[in-house]
Structure formats: structure tokens, C-alpha cells
């Protein structure tokens, strides 16, 4: 009689039925008896779920560097480029490159940065990343990442959702859909944002066609940290509680009259909203953090204050059980004024990102928290020079065939480099890692088989890694 149960809403209802309705409408009486006005957690669709296999990581902090940081100047030294500096590459080579703005005849631009081995592992890093150098032994640097598009929006869509066209659920949504969240009073997938907006915009944390429970919730830096968190003018906390009590009573009566179990879920949602109103302000109130911590994240310096705050909040979020934090920092798109722009970005982000890894480690959280540092692609070893009369105007175009990202913690083996690009930084020479492979690896560390985490929509089963993806075993601890 019953058709195959496909939708999640449905299975959530079944779940509710099992947990809440074992005694028919006894739930009503139960709800009215509940002390402290808390509804059963099990009514929450974000209740924690078992992964496919034993996980290495519980939570993820994704430090997304939107706009495409230049790996040539930060992570992937190419001394051979100096031999070609200022010259065009042979057409047979240059014509193979996928370029966005420049022509294949553009001149080579060797990096002006000095690289030095860092940590015991000796990973070569740029002089502009002195703090990242301190965590070299924690990070797994992948130098051979491949995207599919050299344009920002498709690149960001691929990185976040596994498909260059917009509209698919993003990685944070997939993870919370798969695992739920340990946090009872905060959303399971939280987004932090600094810098200007990005091309991917809210598409970078959309739930796509998954239910909206799994969409990223933006934690705002001005006004309410969560949209509509504060009561409207004239409504005090006491009035809020009175209103919620009355709403709950009316809902409970309606539940008794109609027998519609969805009402129980609504009652629970209103209670969670109330708890969120109390919890979110505590989350962003960092008065309980020590001066050492503030200094470590750079909260006392102008350049690092803002990004440092988001990195610190990311830690506070995972401490409270939030499953996935997307911390997005924009404006790495250095087509022009590379030296000025890139150095400023490094001054802003290098210290806080490293501090986050160190802080997680000293709190014993790094083992269960995966930190990802990645842009949507990298930059060319060829120069882009929009205003040739100004030497400082020089920059780099987009490059998706071999760029660098790093991972730390949560089941990742630190202190190693994966993959190699060729001597001119044009393409991947060894161990190519597609974006889908990275995504499969993230899910794997969380105990999820990327081929089994699917959602049926529009007549087919979708997954984060689309039709690709293979776990990069070498990255694993």
C-alpha cells in the first residue's frame, strides 16, 4: 500500500512517530508536562545521526579564500620561471592553457617571493606566510588540485557543491544532512564572512534542493548575529516567553484536535528558536577569552582583528557542537596590483588561520576538527597587465589546472605535501587531485561514504561528488 518513502520530511515524521508517538496522542500530555519548557530533542531534524563508518573527524571548519589566492607566490615555488621571466611561452604550450582574461601570448611572471622550508617536515612556504610556517607540521599541503572552470562563480559552485552550475546543495548542507549536529541551541551549519561579497554569494552555503533545515545560517557581524534573532521593539524577554507559552498551548490544542504530527515538530522548532535567542549572544560575547588568546588570533591589531574574530568564533562554534563552519574571506582576486593586494591579504589572514589550528590543538580539538584552507582555484604563472604604463599594476589571471590548498586535523596526516605541478606551474605533473576527490576525502574523514550520501531530486539520486570523486588515501593520518 505505501509507496517507497523517498523524502526526508517523511522519514523524519516516521522518526517522530517512533520516538514521540509510541503512545498515540500521549505526546500532548507529555509536552505539557515537560519541565523547563524544552521540547524533546528528537523532534529536531538536526539530531545527530550515525555515520557510515567510524569517523576520524566530527566537525569541519572551512577557511574559504574566495577569489583564488596565488599559489605561485604562496605555496608552490617555481624557480624555473625566472628563466622565462618577461618572455612569452611557445605558442604550442601557451595555447593549451585555459585562461579567463589574458591571451596566451602574455609574459611569464616569476614570483618575487622567497620560499623557505618550514617545520620538521620542511614544507616550502612563502615569506608572506610566517605564521602558517609555524603550523607546517600540522598541515597537509596539496599542490596538485584541479578544478574545471577558470571563472569564479562556476569555480566556487564546484568547490562548494560539486558542480560548476549553480543550484546544488553545498558541502556544509550535505554534511549536516548526513550527520545532523551535536549543537542543540545553534544551527548545524554556520557561515562567517569577511571581506566583500563573493561571486558565489549565498550559493556558497545554500541547501539547494535539500530541506531548508540544512542551509547554512549566516552569523552576521553587525546587527543581530542571526537574522531576526532579537525581539521586535517593545517586546521584552518576559513578553516573549508569555507569547511563546500561549503559542505552544494553542499549537498543542490544535495537535489534539487534528492529530497532525507536524505540529509537534513546530512546537519543538519554536522552543529551539527561543534557546537560540539565548545562546547566540553568548556565542559572540568573547569576554571570557583570555588576553593570550586575543593576542594569538590578532584581535589587538588592526590588520587581523576582523578575520581573527571569525576564526575565534569558528572555534567557539565547534566547541558548542556546530557541525560545519564555513568561514569565508573574499577578495583574493589579484588580476592587478598583485604585490600590494596579496601582501595585504596575507597580513590579514595568515596569523588568525594559524592561530586557529594551534588553538584547536592546545584544546585537544584538532583531532576531531578538520580545518580546510582553499580558494576556488589558483593563478597563472603568466602576467596580467591591464595598465602597462604602471609596473606595480601587474597581476595574475585565473588558473585551475594545479593549485594549492591545505588541510589540518580531523584525520589528516600533517607535515606532508601531496602532488606536484610542472616546473612552470602550468599543469599537474604528479598525483592530480580533483575537487571531487577533496570532497570525497572530507566526507570520508567524517565517516561518510561519498557515494552513499545521496538525495533523490528531480528523478535521480544526487551526491556532493556528482559522478566522480575518490578518497585521497595519502592525505589520511
Amino acid at each position: 500500500m505505501t509507496l517507497p518513502e523517498l523524502s526526508l520530511t517523511r522519514s523524519r515524521r516516521d522518526f517522530l512517530e517512533r520516538t514521540l508517538f509510541g503512545t498515540g496522542l500521549g505526546v500532548l500530555a507529555h509536552l505539557l508536562r515537560v519541565e523547563g519548557r524544552t521540547a524533546p530533542v528528537s523532534a529536531d531534524p538536526l539530531a545527530p545521526r550515525q555515520p557510515h563508518f567510524a569517523p576520524r573527524a566530527k566537525n569541519v571548519i572551512f577557511l574559504f579564500q574566495a577569489g583564488a589566492p596565488s599559489q605561485i607566490d604562496l605555496f608552490d615555488p617555481k624557480p624555473e620561471l625566472h628563466k622565462w621571466d618577461g618572455q612569452s611561452l611557445p605558442p604550442s604550450v601557451a595555447s593549451q592553457l585555459q585562461l579567463a582574461f589574458i591571451q596566451p601570448t602574455a609574459k611569464v611572471l616569476a614570483s618575487r617571493r622567497r620560499f623557505a622550508p618550514a617545520g620538521r617536515s620542511g614544507i616550502e612556504l612563502s615569506e608572506w606566510l610566517p605564521h602558517t610556517a609555524k603550523i607546517a607540521d600540522e598541515i597537509c599541503l596539496v599542490r596538485s588540485v584541479r578544478g574545471e572552470s577558470v571563472n569564479h562563480h562556476p569555480g566556487q559552485a564546484l568547490l562548494m557543491s560539486g558542480n560548476p552550475l549553480p543550484g546544488r546543495p553545498t558541502i556544509g548542507s550535505w554534511v549536516t544532512y548526513g550527520l545532523g549536529s551535536e549543537s542543540r541551541n545553534l544551527p548545524g551549519f554556520v557561515v562567517l564572512k569577511t571581506g566583500s561579497s563573493t561571486q558565489g554569494s549565498t550559493g556558497n552555503w545554500t541547501n539547494g534542493f535539500l530541506p531548508s533545515n540544512y542551509g547554512g545560517v549566516l552569523l552576521r557581524s553587525t546587527g543581530d548575529p542571526i537574522l531576526h534573532l532579537s525581539n521586535p521593539p517593545g517586546v521584552s524577554l518576559e513578553m516573549q516567553r508569555e507569547d511563546l507559552d500561549l503559542i505552544r498551548e494553542l499549537n498543542a490544542q490544535q495537535l489534539a484536535r487534528s492529530g497532525d504530527r507536524e505540529i509537534a515538530a513546530r512546537i519543538a522548532a519554536y522552543e529551539l528558536a527561543f534557546r537560540m535567542q539565548a545562546e547566540a549572544p553568548q556565542l559572540i560575547d568573547i569576554s571570557d577569552e583570555s588576553e593570550t588568546i586575543r593576542e594569538m588570533y590578532g584581535l589587538n591589531a588592526h590588520a587581523t582583528r576582523e578575520y581573527g574574530m571569525t576564526c575565534l568564533l569558528a572555534r567557539r562554534l565547534v566547541e558548542r557542537g556546530v557541525r560545519f563552519v564555513l568561514n569565508q574571506h573574499a577578495q583574493w582576486d589579484h588580476h592587478t596590483n598583485l604585490d600590494k593586494g596579496l601582501s595585504a591579504k596575507c597580513r590579514t589572514t595568515d596569523q588568525p588561520a594559524a592561530a586557529l589550528v594551534q588553538d584547536l590543538k592546545q584544546r585537544g580539538l584538532l583531532d576531531e576538527t578538520m580545518v580546510i584552507w582553499a580558494g576556488e582555484f589558483g593563478r597563472t604563472s603568466l602576467a596580467e597587465w591591464r595598465n602597462p604604463s604602471d609596473p606595480a599594476n601587474i597581476g595574475r589571471d585565473h588558473h585551475a589546472d594545479g593549485f594549492s590548498v591545505w588541510f589540518a586535523g580531523g584525520g589528516i596526516r600533517g607535515g606532508q605535501v601531496i602532488g606536484r605541478t610542472d616546473e612552470l606551474g602550468l599543469t599537474v605533473e604528479r598525483d592530480p587531485v580533483h575537487i571531487h576527490d577533496l570532497q570525497a576525502t572530507v566526507l570520508h574523514c567524517l565517516g561518510i561514504d561519498h557515494e552513499r550520501l545521496t538525495y533523490r531530486h528531480s528523478g535521480r539520486d544526487f551526491r556532493l561528488t556528482d559522478v566522480g570523486g575518490a578518497v585521497v588515501d595519502a592525505m589520511l593520518a
Partner: protein, 854 residues
């Protein structure tokens, strides 16, 4: 799996100085006589047929049947008997002159195996008949056809029975289940009103309905609502979900589309006018091609303009033009055929009888579109426009002349054209040329037209763009010095001051048809064989090819096409019962579940077809059935027997979509601004919310009564939708959405509890209640508030509970100085009472009942 270009590039870098192309030669042919069955077929079966066999036929190639193998695939013939050196099959397995080696997984074929294939081909590629497997006919022949592809057979209904009830009861009877009783009258009226027009019944309508106790009362309410202008709005909402209507481009730039609403208005008007579904569809698909077409017919083709547009700097316009045509193709398949045609973009459909060739044949219908803007004045717009147009144009020219625009623009155009003709030479203008192409619709073509021959609209498009984009080449400071931002401001003010006729985004057919090619693996830049427009093979109704878009639209409504009607009635059905008779209303293919009531589906489909596709008739049929009117109460036994309500022994309570919760708040509070078919508006955001944009500029909220228009008119900005809509499961309007999720989240609670627009609605409701009958008793006031917000009377228990609530608020002195100082006082109403009743409004607009269709 890696993308193709990642598997193997055809060149390697050997140090910095040696850059040589890598070439691979192919193994020599084997010696000796080759036998197909012994030597060749095992290779095909073991290494090729998984992808090039009967189930997949990737890239159109099959190696399991002689006839197919010899015909080749989408890239052309694979086997040239007698000439293995030139046979594509050999190139592919040997990696010779190709970027990718087959098979793509596992070890490559050994030199010996390739030698066998070569020798077999050189010896004439002899393939004995008995060596082939499978039938030579079409895959679908002989097998029983999938239910959805079978002809619609109109089942008979006993005289006097309502057809809907008849089929539902037959099924219930066979399951031994009894139907629920009919719902109470007030519930019925609220249900009917929310379903047909998307607005709650007013207290006056409720009273009239209850007083009209006659047998025809319900029917009269149905007719009143079907005739309402709001009917078209409500039904358009569901259609706009499917055709992915939005007010912006999507992608990185996400520019606002100020004229998109004109298509939406067409949809609303057509539905209100009772246009048949056949004409409604035909005009949207091919309004430009119908005989004696009117401007309104053209406006309908705005359907094709709902695709996303990628204007990000550095993108290849050809790639995204292809993506848009792909989108049009799969949208067509989803909206009218209920098929996942889009699955066949890269390979043959894995489950349904849709080949990759089918996909590109349908694609070919849409491959010849050309975009255009037209004046589409609404009634009453042209007179004032014509009266003032001369003054307007004179003023317009004065602004341009004052800023020396004509000369500067001419120079900018000349340099841009020069850069466009010589890429990589004039670096500063390279970008200007690219951006002109990306950020205008057809700007590069217009600058090739001498200025005096440009139309008014063409000229302005380029000039306005120039005023904004000159800074790209001269810098923002210089542009400011020239006064360009000021000129733009003056022009936009002028455009507001003088009456302008409405414009519409439309399509038309290109003058000459360009050839359409299948794309290998769905990649925009990998051309395969040429294809002509044709309907999918498995659905073809005649051997004759269907010539153009107009014929394609007509084919949808031809006798032999069973899908259109089934898909359409199912989508209407799901809005009344929460789910379709076929639950996957977007997928009628073999992977979807079969219909719960196949005879009912077919009866409705036949009835829609035989009623000249009368949409209102279909709605009327459904809502006048007993099944529709049943109580939604879930008795315990039924909750166990049929939790998803597939059998329809009762109705279902359905959480309202985002737009209708908004509408209910606006309507019950009396704030609602009725402007059927009008422009989009921007609601307010909470104070202190920053970083919220529309197409790169700040979101400037609408002012005045506009702010209280219906939710369906909230400007939909694709990359940054108004958060309220997303919170309540609005689709993202990137692809067709045939049904919506109904989630239930804490963010929804926060939104309804704290959103400033909803707060206005509570207070407006309170004012309405208090001024309605100033001296009414508490009970009288509460009844009115309940009637307005929930469409029902309060129970005794509710009356006393709310009385206690209001008393408490009054006693606490809420509304004294300082408590709600930010809110404007209302003359003649005691502020303390107003605050207490605002609380009542808040509670009523937050209960589950308020966000639910009963």
C-alpha cells in the same frame, strides 16, 4: 572521475627549454587470420560493452551489435573496414592523435589486443550475423511500454457519481477503509479560499457563506473565487516555480532584470482570462511564430528568457549560451513531459528511452533563438507617452550633450572595436570589449551599427552602458570628473519623470537556421554529429519530423502524446492534496513511482484534453469533489494504515508556501496592497542588517503601500534571495521546481516572531480589531481577530485564555512611555490596549494554524 583534460594532456614540459609535443604511434596489426567470435568479440565484451552496449551506448556508440558498430557513434564512424590506421576505434584504444585513451578505466588494451583489432579491421571487419546480440530493432519494441507512455484511455464513471470521488472510493473500498467526514463549513471556506486565490476569506465572506445555507452555497463560493483576479495570481505562483522565473540574472553579477515582471503579468492575465492550457503553453514556447501574432503573444516568449545569464568577467559567452539552451531543453522536458530529459545531455538516459541524440534533437528547436526587447505597453500607457515623448527626448539629448557623451562615446566605441578585432594588442580596451559583450545583451553588435541607424533603445543601451563602464578604461576618478555618475542620475530621474511604456524580454527565431550539433559527453566545445529538430523517438507520434518550435508546441497537444495532459493534471492535483497522484510530479519516467490512482489520473487527463484544455474546469472539478472537502483530522487508525495519505481517506493539512504566509499576514491585518500583475518590490530588512545586495548594489527597500504587495511580487534576486523566502522553502529558480519542500525550522519561528514587516502586521491587525467596533466586548473583539487571522471562531477555552493574556498585558502597563516609543501612536486608540492586542496579533500569526492550509 577526473574531467577529460585531466586524464592526459597531449604535451609535457621537459625542463624549461625543451617543450616538445608528445606523439605515440599505434601497435602493428597482428599477423594471421582473425576470427571475430574467437578473437575480437571477447575484447568488446570484456572491455567495451559496459559503456558501449545496449544499456549505455556512450557517445552513441554500441559495440554489441553489428549494425550499430558499423554505423559508429556521435563522433562519426568508428570502424573503417580495410583501414585500421584511419579507424577511430583504433585511435581511441591506442591513444593515437587523441587526448583520451579508451577504455578510460582499468589497464589500457595491450599491444597484442590492439594488433588483433587492427588485423580484424584490415581483413574487412567481418562480423558474422550470429555474432551479434540483441535485437536489431529499437530497444523499446517488444517490451511492454512504460505506463506513462501508453495512450490515455478514458475510464467510465457511473452516472451521478463525481468522477474524483468514484475512483478514490473504489480504491478505499478495496482496502477496507472508510473515508473521513466532510470538514466544517468554516474550514472548507478557508481551505477553498487559500487554495484558489491564496488569500484567506474575509469575515464578511465567512458570514455570507454561513448564512447562505443553501445547497449551492459551496458552488457559489467556488465560482466567486474562480472569477477573482487573485485566482490568476495564485495559480501563476505554481507555474512560475516551474518556469524558474526570477528578477535577476543569477551567477556572479546577478544583474537585476527590471522588465522581467512583464512576462509574469502575462501569465497571470492568461490564467485569469481562462486561456486553454494548449494556447497558454504554445504562446510561451512559440508565441513569436504563431500566425497574426500580437505583442502579448511575444511577451509570452519571455518564458525562454528566464534562463540564468553568466556575465562574469572572463567567461566564454559561447559556453554559457550553450548552457542556456541546455537549460531551455531540459526545462521543456520537465515542465510539459515530466521527463528528466536533461539526464541525456551527456549520455543516453540510464533508465528512460531517451537517447543523447534525442536530447540534442529537442535542443535543436531552441538553438535558433534570438533575444529581443520590445515595447509592451499596458493599456493606458501609450497616450501619455506619445504626448510627452518629444520633450522627453530633447531633455535626454541635452543631458548627454552637456556631458560631451557623443564624442567620447564615439572614440570609446572605435577603440573597443579595434581591440575586439585584434585581441592581445590593445590591452586596456581588450577588457572593455569583452565586458561590453558580457554586460549588455547584444552591445557588441550594436556598436557595429552606425549611430544614426540605431534604434532609440539600441542607442540607449550602449550609451547607458558606456556611462557606467567608461571608468574601466579611464579610471573612476576621470569618469567622475566628467560627471558621468551625475549624468546617469539625471537620466534615471528623467526616465522616472516622463511616462515610459512597459517593455518586455522576448525571443524570436533567427533569420537563417544555424546547424545544431550533438555535444560529445555534453561538453559545449566538443561537437559531434549534426542533428535536426525532432521530438524524442520513443514519443514520436508521426514519422514526419516536427518542423519548428510552433509545431513542437502543437505536438505536445496532439492526440498521440499522453504525457502533457497527465503531467499537467497531476501538478494541479498536488496543490490540493499535498502530493500528486504520481508523487514525483517532476518525473514520469520509469524511475518514478506509478500513480496511486491510475484511472483517476487518466480520467482527469482525458477530461482536461476533451474540455479544450480548460484549466478552470479542472480546478472546479477537483474542488467540488467530496474527496477535496474531507476533514483533515488524522484518526489514530488511519495514521497507522496510511500515514502519507496516499489513499485519500481524508484531507491533509499543508504548510503554506512562503508567499502565502506573507499574504495571509498582509490580508488579515488589512495592509495588503492589491496590484495584480504589477512590478516586483523589495520588502524591508531588519535595522542593522548590512551586506544585503541586489545585483551588486544595496537592497533599497520599497516604500509606501508597495511594501505590502503579495509575496509573489517580492523581488527574487537569484544569488541573494530575500531571506524570508529561503527560510520558508522557496525554490531557487535556477531549474524548474515542480513541487516545494515544506520544512519546519527554528529560523522560520524567529522570522515570524521577529520580522519587522510581520510586526507591522500584528499592530495593524490590532488597530483593525480595536477600531472595528470600539465598544465591543472582549469576546466580540477576539472573535473578529480570530475571523480575520484564522477564519474561525475562538473556543470557550481560547476566549478565557486570551482574556487572561490581555488583562495581564494591560495590568503590566505595557505601552507606557518608553515601551514602544518607536511605533507611531494611533489616534483614538489607547496605546496600552493597542500593545496588548498587538500581542494577540503576534500570537495568532505564529500559531501552526496560521501557516497551514486546513
Amino acid at each position: 572521475m577526473l574531467p577529460l583534460r585531466a586524464v592526459s594532456v597531449g604535451w609535457v614540459v621537459l625542463g624549461a627549454t625543451a617543450l616538445v609535443a608528445q606523439t605515440v604511434d599505434m601497435p602493428e596489426p597482428a599477423t594471421g587470420q582473425i576470427d571475430f567470435a574467437t578473437h575480437v568479440q571477447p575484447i568488446f565484451r570484456g572491455r567495451c560493452e559496459a559503456c558501449h552496449g545496449s544499456t549505455n551506448a556512450m557517445n552513441g556508440l554500441r559495440l554489441d551489435r553489428r549494425s550499430d558498430a558499423m554505423r559508429g557513434g556521435h563522433s562519426g564512424p568508428a570502424i573503417l573496414p580495410g583501414n585500421s590506421r584511419e579507424s577511430r576505434l583504433v585511435h581511441m584504444v591506442a591513444g593515437y592523435r587523441v587526448k583520451v585513451v579508451m577504455p578510460p578505466v582499468g589497464d589500457p588494451l595491450s599491444a597484442a589486443e590492439i594488433g588483433v583489432l587492427r588485423a580484424w579491421i584490415d581483413q574487412g571487419a567481418h562480423w558474422p550475423e550470429e555474432g551479434s546480440r540483441g535485437s536489431e530493432g529499437e530497444a523499446s519494441s517488444g517490451e511492454e511500454r512504460h505506463w506513462a507512455f501508453q495512450p490515455i484511455v478514458r475510464p467510465s464513471v457511473p452516472a451521478g457519481d463525481h468522477p474524483v470521488d468514484h475512483f478514490v472510493r473504489v480504491r478505499l473500498h478495496s482496502e477496507g477503509i472508510e473515508a473521513a467526514p466532510v470538514a466544517e463549513p468554516r474550514t472548507l471556506l478557508t481551505r477553498l479560499s487559500l487554495d484558489l486565490i491564496g488569500l484567506p476569506p474575509t469575515p464578511e465572506e465567512q458570514r455570507a457563506f454561513l448564512e447562505d445555507g443553501g445547497t449551492g452555497a459551496y458552488g457559489r463560493a467556488v465560482e466567486r473565487l474562480l472569477a477573482s483576479d487573485h485566482f490568476g495570481e495564485k495559480q501563476a505562483m505554481h507555474w512560475l516555480d516551474q518556469v524558474r522565473y526570477a528578477d535577476s540574472d543569477g551567477y556572479a553579477k546577478d544583474l537585476v532584470r527590471p522588465h522581467a515582471w512583464r512576462y509574469r503579468r502575462w501569465v497571470i492575465d492568461a490564467l485569469n482570462a481562462g486561456m486553454g492550457f494548449d494556447q497558454f503553453s504554445t504562446l510561451q514556447i512559440a508565441g513569436d511564430l504563431v500566425p497574426d501574432r500580437t505583442v502579448e503573444d511575444l511577451v509570452a516568449t519571455g518564458f525562454h528568457r528566464n534562463t540564468l545569464r553568466n556575465r562574469e568577467g572572463g567567461v566564454n559567452p559561447a559556453q554559457y549560451a550553450f548552457e542556456e539552451t541546455v537549460d531551455r531543453t531540459s526545462t521543456f522536458g520537465t515542465v510539459w513531459l515530466g521527463l528528466t530529459l536533461g539526464c541525456a545531455q551527456c549520455h543516453d538516459h540510464k533508465f528512460d528511452p531517451l537517447s543523447q541524440r534525442d536530447f540534442y534533437r529537442v535542443f535543436a528547436y531552441f538553438d535558433n533563438l534570438e533575444e529581443a526587447m520590445v515595447y509592451a505597453p499596458l493599456s493606458g500607457e501609450m497616450g501619455p507617452y506619445l504626448q510627452s515623448v518629444n520633450d522627453y527626448r530633447r531633455e535626454h539629448q541635452r543631458i548627454l550633450d552637456e556631458h560631451d557623451v557623443p564624442a567620447l562615446q564615439a572614440d570609446w566605441e572605435r577603440r573597443s572595436l579595434q581591440a575586439g578585432a585584434n585581441p592581445g594588442v590593445y590591452l586596456d580596451y581588450d577588457l572593455a570589449w569583452q565586458e561590453l559583450g558580457l554586460n549588455t545583451d547584444g552591445g557588441q553588435e550594436v556598436v557595429r551599427i552606425p549611430p544614426e541607424r540605431r534604434t532609440w533603445r539600441q542607442a540607449n543601451m550602449v550609451t547607458y552602458y558606456f556611462l557606467r563602464a567608461y571608468s574601466l578604461v579611464v579610471g573612476a576618478e576621470k569618469a567622475k570628473e566628467l560627471g558621468f555618475p551625475d549624468a546617469l542620475r539625471q537620466i534615471s530621474e528623467l526616465n522616472r519623470r516622463f511616462p515610459q511604456p512597459s517593455e518586455a524580454r522576448v525571443v524570436r527565431e533567427r533569420g537563417s537556421r544555424r546547424p545544431t550539433f550533438l555535444r560529445v559527453r555534453g561538453s559545449w566545445d566538443r561537437r559531434g554529429i549534426e542533428v535536426s529538430p525532432r521530438t524524442p523517438h520513443a514519443l514520436s507520434t508521426s514519422p514526419e519530423p516536427v518542423a519548428d518550435r510552433l509545431a513542437l508546441a502543437q505536438w505536445l497537444f496532439s492526440e498521440g502524446n499522453p504525457l502533457t495532459a497527465r503531467v499537467a493534471v497531476n501538478r494541479v492535483w498536488q496543490e490540493y492534496f499535498g502530493q500528486g497522484l504520481v508523487r514525483t510530479s517532476e518525473d514520469f519516467g520509469t524511475q518514478g513511482p506509478p500513480p496511486s490512482h491510475p484511472q483517476l489520473l487518466d480520467w482527469l487527463a482525458a477530461e482536461l484534453r476533451d474540455s479544450h484544455w480548460d484549466i478552470k474546469h479542472l480546478h472546479r472539478l477537483i474542488v467540488t469533489s467530496e474527496t477535496y472537502k474531507l476533514s483533515a483530522r488524522v484518526p489514530e487508525d488511519l495514521a497507522k494504515l496510511d500515514p502519507s495519505n496516499v489513499l485519500l481517506a481524508r484531507q491533509s493539512r499543508l504548510r503554506l508556501p512562503a508567499e502565502l504566509i506573507w499574504d495571509r499576514a498582509m490580508a488579515s491585518s488589512g495592509l495588503l496592497h492589491r496590484d495584480v500583475g504589477g512590478r516586483s518590490f523589495r520588502p524591508a530588512m531588519p535595522q542593522g542588517t548590512t551586506g544585503f545586495k541586489a545585483g551588486g548594489t544595496d537592497w533599497v527597500p520599497s516604500t509606501g503601500a508597495e511594501r505590502y504587495k503579495r509575496g509573489m511580487y517580492i523581488q527574487f534576486q537569484r544569488t541573494q534571495p530575500f531571506p524570508y523566502l529561503v527560510t520558508f522553502d522557496s525554490p531557487d529558480f535556477r531549474a524548474p521546481a515542480c513541487r516545494r519542500e515544506r520544512s519546519n525550522t527554528p529560523l522560520q519561528a524567529l522570522n515570524l516572531l521577529n520580522d519587522p514587516t510581520f510586526a507591522e502586521a500584528w499592530r495593524a491587525l490590532a488597530v483593525r480589531v480595536l477600531s472595528h467596533a470600539p465598544r465591543a466586548s472582549f469576546r466580540g473583539r477576539l472573535r473578529y481577530a480570530f475571523n480575520l487571522a484564522l477564519g474561525r471562531e475562538p473556543t470557550e477555552g481560547e476566549v478565557s485564555r486570551f482574556e487572561q493574556y490581555v488583562e495581564g498585558r494591560l495590568a503590566a502597563g505595557k505601552g507606557e512611555e518608553g515601551d514602544s516609543a518607536a511605533l507611531p501612536r494611533v489616534e483614538g486608540i489607547d496605546e496600552r490596549e493597542l500593545v496588548a492586542w498587538t500581542g494577540v496579533g503576534r500570537v495568532l500569526m505564529n500559531v501552526d494554524e496560521f501557516v497551514t492550509r486546513p
